[in-house]
């Protein structure tokens, strides 16, 4: 059964039009002037190259590593995710979590694109789960613990496994968003290898900083935080971590209070030398030098939230329509949603073989 699935996955990736053919290097969801929502393909000159209508506001999207296919997730607590054929501009499948779970806004494909992993939480307890879906048939093949409460983002790592941001927050089942445990919350960063949790990292002294968004370059993981403690306290909102080492915290010096305790997204620059978090509340995005921890520059845009690697540097998007790409800057008549997603380059042969190990382990 699993072998047939694998073959089907490879066949599809060989025949379906690849991302390159769409001209897109990034994707992002947005609200249009009519109030409708859509997912857009974006080029390096900040133009849009495709548009797929969405039925409601999304949060993030996961891009297939080869096929021009994306999965758009509803805002949490989500009861659906949509598989999109970006070249054709259509919704091809609708994913529904098991009735006791809710999607939490993010997902990630395995490097070979055969499986999709989705962050989910048990509706009544916020206990974190990772749903595993077969991307050829869109059947649900497995479910494993996320290692904490209220997982938000899951990220495929260049080294092989996955990182999971367990936000640590238990939410009220009646609306799925009201926070119930801010005094006792214990967020963590969980590493998943071959389907098993291999390392869990907590934030020393910052238990009320919810771990929500992730980025990776090489062996370094960047974590964006959202502070749930006293608003009178200014805390770091970016953590960098390498496996087996103590985390490093980054603060934007005197500009840190402008973040208002909230980082919306995080990304490394394409060359890995810089790491940015976005602060939509204060309309700024501090860009840190990874080696020294110093603030290299501060981008200022109202409602800035999306950030992604682009070329050697970074690209930004904001809720007022601004799209700042390496080869162009444009103001679209759109409100760009939280996240800007870089389409991964074709994975190397080495990482493909690692993926195969993941599959054999799971079989």
């Amino acid at each position: 059964m699993r072998r047939r699935t694998l073959l089907a996955g490879l066949a599809a990736s060989a025949t379906a039009p690849a991302w390159a053919a769409t001209g897109a290097t990034h994707i992002a969801a947005a609200r249009e002037p009519s109030g409708a929502y859509a997912l857009f393909g974006l080029a390096m000159d900040a133009t849009t190259v495709f548009r797929v209508p969405l039925p409601a506001r999304g949060h993030a999207a996961a891009a297939h590593p080869m096929r021009s296919e994306a999965v758009a997730f509803a805002r949490r607590p989500g009861t659906f995710a949509l598989v999109l054929d970006c070249a054709g501009g259509t919704v091809t499948h609708r994913l529904t979590p098991p009735s006791r779970n809710r999607f939490q806004g993010h997902g990630a494909y395995t490097a070979d694109g055969v499986y999709l992993l989705t962050t989910e939480a048990v509706h009544t307890t916020s206990e974190g789960r990772i749903g595993i879906w077969d991307s050829a048939t869109w059947t649900r093949v497995d479910e494993i613990p996320s290692g904490g409460l209220g997982p938000h983002e899951i990220l495929r790592l260049p080294s092989g496994g996955f990182a999971i941001a367990n936000g640590g927050i238990r939410t009220d089942p009646s609306d799925g968003r009201r926070k119930m445990n801010l005094d006792t919350m214990r967020p963590n960063l969980t590493y998943l290898d071959n389907g098993r949790i291999t390392e869990t990292v907590a934030l020393p002294g910052l238990a009320q900083a919810s771990i929500r968004h992730l980025a990776a370059h090489g062996s370094t993981i960047a974590v964006a935080l959202q502070w749930e403690g006293s608003p009178d306290r200014t805390v770091p909102l970016l953590m960098l971590h390498q496996r087996g080492q103590a985390p490093r915290l980054f603060e934007a010096g005197p500009d840190q209070p402008r973040m208002q305790g909230y980082a919306g997204s995080v990304a490394f620059s394409g060359n890995g030398q810089q790491c940015a978090i976005t602060g939509p509340r204060g309309g700024l995005a501090p860009v840190f030098d990874v080696a020294t921890g110093a603030v290299a520059k501060i981008m200022t845009r109202p409602d800035i939230c999306g950030v992604a690697p682009a070329g050697p540097g970074l690209a930004f998007s904001d809720g007022t329509g601004g799209l700042l790409m390496p080869n162009g800057v444009r103001k679209h008549a759109l409100a760009w949603d939280n996240h800007l997603i870089a389409l991964a380059p074709t994975p190397s042969a080495a990482s493909r073989s690692r993926r195969r190990r993941y599959r054999s382990e799971r079989r």
């Binding site: 609200r31 949060h59 805002r75 949490r76 806004g105 938000h152 968003r177 929500r212 009178d232 010096g253 005197p254 500009d255 209070p257 402008r258 909230y262 919306g264 939509p280 509340r281 309309g283 501060i298 981008m299 200022t300 845009r301 109202p302 409602d303 800035i304 939230c305 904001d318 809720g319 007022t320 329509g321 601004g322 700042l324 800057v329 444009r330 103001k331 409100a335 760009w336 949603d337 939280n338």
Partner: protein, 314 residues
Amino acid sequence: MRLALAFCVLALPAMADIDAAVDDHILPRLADLSQATTALATAAETGCDALQDPFREAAEAWASAAHLMFGPGEDGGRASAIQFWPDARNATGRGLRLLAQQGAEAWTPEALARASVAARGLGALERAIFDGAAPCPLTQALTADLAATAAAIEAGRRDGFAATLRTASAEGNTRFLAPEEAEAALFTTLMTGLEFTATQRLGRPMGTFAEPRPLRAEMRRSGRSLANVTAALTALRDLAATLAEAPQTDAAFARAISLAEGLDDPVFAGVETTGGRLRVEALQTAVNETGRTANAEIGAALGVQAGFNRLDGD
């Protein structure tokens, strides 16, 4: 034909005059702040006994310009170095005590520029001048540091940021991708200024009905709590007038300012009595109402929308 033209004009969002806002509102207020803080530093050069009036004048200039701190004001925390407030953890008191203990080496403008922002600016100076919380040489250095910060903000605004505002949509201006964005930034400044006045300047001393917090009033040591509210409202009213023709907003400002002027409670000590609290609350309500009116009248005219991601919370 004439009818069609009139329709076109009406249908376009009102365009705020960015040049007028820069030349008539922003730059003069920052120049006033620079002048008043320089005057305070000059007065301090001959001693620390007669600084109360120059301090109050600097505070008045600051309350009239504090809303203009986007751009060069906010870069590197310069605005916080002018006034670190609110200060729930008494960082100013602790920082000033530390500076006083460090001795003369720490009492130079150069050393202060590297000190915690909480221990600098008007908050520290108010304690030094009205409570005698600092030796005179430290007070003198604090006034020089304050004047330098205000001058740096004014220079940054005049030489760089004014041009950034005026050249919205020009090549290389990623801060403002269209003229509307410069207008929106000014409008945001107006709304933030009103919100700060309502929730902080008035809201902090009000506390809750069960637990009023008069000692949290802004600049209570110099007796400027209410005066700062009046100065801020007057300046924000002027900014609103440069953004759009907005008669309802102007009337709401007039009402709030007349309530402030009629309030005989300079440091909001009255919040501890029911009647006194109601009077401060009435002023707060009028400020909030001014914000709602400005949002509906000016925000709509400029086509500005509330934050899409800022309010998303995920």
